[in-house]
């Protein structure tokens, strides 16, 4: 049980949430993406995407840039270096975790 808790601690709780995980995963694949693109790519609702993106922005994992293009508001999101590092760590921890769970314990 104690080993599980330790492994648990390695997963960043901010990323280890279904909606935020998909946002960070999609953003990790591009340099930056606007709100509409993220909306389509993640299949989240506008409210959910907005709320979860705000959390990631507050944590410093995602940078948000609001601008007007042709008088229409356009919000651009980009993973910060800290966000990319956190996601790399998360993926490594997740890989360790699943590798360990699939192997029989001795």
């Amino acid at each position: 049980m104690s080993s599980r808790s330790e492994s648990n601690g390695a997963l960043d709780p901010l990323i280890h949430e279904a909606s935020r995980l998909v946002i960070v995963s999609v953003l990790s694949e591009c340099e930056s993406a606007d709100f509409n693109f993220l909306l389509g790519a993640t299949n989240l609702t506008r409210g959910n995407l907005s709320a979860h993106a705000a959390r990631l922005v507050a944590a410093g994992y995602v940078a948000e840039q609001k601008q007007f293009i042709d008088r229409k508001p356009c919000t651009q999101y980009q993973l910060t270096p800290a966000g990319r590092a956190a996601f790399r760590t998360y993926r490594a921890a997740w890989k360790r975790l699943t590798d360990g769970s699939q192997r029989p314990r001795r």
């Binding site: 960070v24 790519a41 959910n48």
Partner: protein, 231 residues
């Protein structure tokens, strides 16, 4: 309303207590990321790789024309495809998917950085370095060794396209591999093939058409991702 959104969306994944339950969202996230990666690659990376296949196979075709045809035709042939690669790079820097959503990918950002003098000097330095290294090696090594190295490079390039096909599932990557192999095999076995070696000229044309199709397909895929459809 905000509280409702917060409570309904805030579903922490149950870590090790229910690994199967956790796997599904992780896989969904991986799938979404792969969809984006695939669409971006088809729209931006694919044409660059394809143009490279076009250029490399036209290099072989130019070599065949050099010995079997007039020199001006070889120069024109090579120039058209070099111009094509430059055009693809310029398009990459400027490109945005059509539609209301915009996404800037790593390719595009890197290509934009290439415009900065430092990156440009570095890239040109690398290209010229390779050119001079090849010249220096050819004066040092026997002809058979150089041919072997060239064959290995061609096989490596074709292998890269096959690997890309296995990963992204675009038939165009297989076409690029075929074009590179076809043109260079015709170049290597030109004495045996005789006039038939000129058929290698088809390879860059086929690669060019595949680039065009891949670019169109990639833009469609990007629009599909932005619209929430499966890519």
């Amino acid at each position: 309303m905000a509280a409702n959104v917060e409570s309904s969306s805030e579903r922490p994944l149950s870590n090790l207590t229910d690994l199967q339950g956790t796997l599904a969202p992780v896989r969904a996230a991986e799938q979404a990321a792969w969809n984006v990666r695939r669409a971006i690659d088809a729209a931006r990376g694919g044409p660059i790789w394809g143009s490279l296949a076009c250029l490399v196979s036209s290099l072989a075709a130019a070599g065949i024309l050099d010995s079997a045809g007039p020199k001006w035709l070889m120069i024109a042939w090579f120039g058209v495809f070099a111009f094509g690669l430059l055009g693809a790079l310029a398009w990459l820097v400027k490109s945005h998917p059509a539609g209301e959503a915009t996404v800037v990918d790593h390719f595009q950002a890197n290509a934009a950085r290439l415009k900065r003098p430092g990156y440009l000097a570095l890239s040109l330095g690398f290209a010229f370095g390779c050119f001079f290294l090849w010249g220096w090696l050819s004066s040092l090594l026997p002809y058979s060794a150089m041919t072997l190295m060239l064959m290995l490079a061609i096989l490596l390039m074709a292998g890269t396209y096959v690997a890309r096909f296995c990963y992204f599932w675009f038939w165009q990557d297989l076409a690029f591999a075929l074009c590179v192999l076809l043109a260079w095999m015709a170049y290597f076995y030109q004495p045996l093939l005789g006039g038939w070696a000129l058929l290698a000229l088809v390879a860059p044309l086929l690669a060019g058409v595949s680039v065009w199709l891949l670019r169109r397909r990639g833009l469609k895929l990007l629009r599909a991702v932005a619209a929430g459809g499966a890519a």
